[in-house]
Symmetry: C2
Subunit: 342 residues, 2 copies
């Protein structure tokens, strides 16, 4: 999986991916929290019927209750479904587009969460695709919509556009100099927020930050997208300037950080996912700073997903305890670093 990361995206030295999602609900059903399994099956059928009419070849359909825990977690780790949908194991399902660029989640927090995912900075395309899927579904499904408030959602924070647009940034340099805290504080003031790799509540591991809009009400979709795009470009400039500064003034310290991570990845025999993420992040930093000669920038990021617990177990096709995973993860890293030139 993670084929959505295969293409080279815009601004790929810093921007890992762009994600847009809208939250939608059908007026004739209760919110998922209050829904029975049979009601949810009816809702799921409504959605499937709409998709089958024109797009059935484009999507594969999965019910969570037909997947084992491991398979479920792999989809989450690959960012193809949200962690929250796993809370609704009995009623949740999803349609995944075959190019992995779009997922229609059914019965997550809302009846529908339409998500699109692109490598690099690609807010316009991600929004276009999301919007077109939304329009397509709305042709036959009646959304819960209020002419004053806009789209109605299970949680009031999503009411209005129901839109969350987010961009995943790798920001090692502003993180190391400490400017990141000023940036995050500034984002908050203009209604944007920064989260870690796996969304709300997750830590900013490996210098990875998801920047997204906090507010869904008041601005139009285009305003939300444009504001985010503008702010991301400012952050890119900041990170690149800091990178130049560190290259000119702190080169040996940066080399020390990058090469130590390389040494640890090359030689460890036991490696937790948290630690592996940190070192892979330093490797990627070394590649963008031309300290290491790399094959392709995306490989460290792909590996950050491949080394997650469920992905490792899926690859080896067996259940593994934490220690076994840590040993396998270390082995994968030794294999990976064979290809990194010093």
């Amino acid at each position: 999986m993670t084929q959505w990361l295969d293409e080279i995206g815009e601004e790929e030295d810093i921007v890992i991916s762009t994600r847009v999602r809208v939250a939608r609900n059908l007026s004739k059903y209760k919110f998922p929290e209050y829904m029975s399994i049979s009601e949810s099956d009816n809702l799921t059928d409504d959605v499937l019927n709409r998709v089958k009419k024109e797009e059935s070849d484009e999507y594969k359909f999965k019910r969570l209750r037909d997947l084992n825990k491991l398979e479920q977690r792999v989809y989450v780790e690959d960012h193809l479904i949200s962690p929250s949908i796993l809370k609704n194991e009995n009623i949740g399902s999803f349609l995944l587009r075959k190019d992995e660029k779009a997922t229609i989640m059914i019965n997550e927090e809302d009846h529908l969460r339409i998500q699109t995912l692109f490598p690099g900075l690609n807010l316009e395309k991600a929004w276009e695709l999301c919007s077109s899927i939304d329009d397509f579904l709305e042709e036959e499904l009646k959304y819960a919509y209020d002419s004053d408030l806009g789209y109605l959602t299970a949680c009031p924070t999503n009411v209005g556009t129901g839109l969350r647009a987010s961009v995943m940034l790798h920001l090692p340099c502003v993180s190391m100099t400490g400017s990141i805290s000023v940036i995050i504080e500034g984002l908050r003031k203009i209604g944007l927020t920064a989260r870690g790799l796996y969304g709300e509540g997750s830590e900013a591991l490996g210098f990875l930050y998801q920047i997204s809009n906090q507010i869904t009400l008041g601005d139009t979709e285009e305003e939300i997208i444009n504001k985010l795009d503008k702010v991301v470009h400012q952050i890119l400039t900041r990170e690149r300037n800091t990178r130049k500064y560190l290259t000119s003034n702190r080169l040996v310290e940066m080399e020390n950080k990058v090469y130590r991570s390389l040494g640890i990845l090359k030689y460890s025999r036991i490696l937790s996912s948290t630690e592996a993420m940190e070192h892979l992040s330093n490797i990627r930093m070394g590649e963008t700073m031309n300290i290491l000669k790399n094959k392709e920038l995306s490989s460290a990021i792909k590996l950050m997903i491949d080394i997650q617990p469920a992905n490792i177990q899926k690859k080896l096709n067996k259940e593994m305890n934490s220690k076994e995973r840590d040993i396998e993860r270390a082995r994968m890293m030794r294999e990976f670093t064979l290809g990194v030139e010093v």
Copy 2:
């Protein structure tokens, strides 16, 4: 320097070195603390005259005031003189035997400190040599001696035999399992003590412990030496049993520790002496556990001395600040680890 480490010693998998010293004072002079420079010169002449009569070819003589700070510190780092003698820079001097196995320090805390130093476990030889130098000096120099108390010394903790015998042990396995704290507690109860690499007050860096007698009064010299020898053999058994246990039950954890240290030493660009010591200590552990194939066991220990601040500056023949030393130390480590086979 550190040619005293060139020979292979007994029990060299664990015992780095054996050191014996006696504290002696000449009855006709005040203790060094109260001594003028001219008095100290007279005392120094008395000692030199005795040595010159029969042994002058065996020793080289150095006055501290003729050495610069860097040269002084190199002798300390190499364990050839004690750190304390540097406090008496104006009156202190020493005679170093050309094979580096013996030093006669003049005006350290006492008028004379006769030290002998052997690789590996060699208490008997170290004591024999120390005793013979002591006898030789006493033939013409009148020692401060009390028929009840024994040899009189500046500090009451040395009165009696004036003898301190110590053995430097590398104890990674009992340190890692935590048994070391029980061992140290046990030593205290029988009048022995454990110190770090550079003696009193120094930390037990790199799993290195100096075990020595605390008590100089009451037991004869032979009793002190024999007791220490017996206890050291018990500790050796403990360390070796723990090593076997870890090899059988925690091999991947031990490999992880050893190889990570190797990775860091191979790739660092900046390395403090404390950190280098820790990793070299793990390399040595890897060699004794047959995780790494080594050239010779003593090289990691030698390097622990070579990477000390004064030694690095002496080798490059220039004053260096802390950052410059950390960079050079990292370079030395990369060179060293080229020869370590995985």
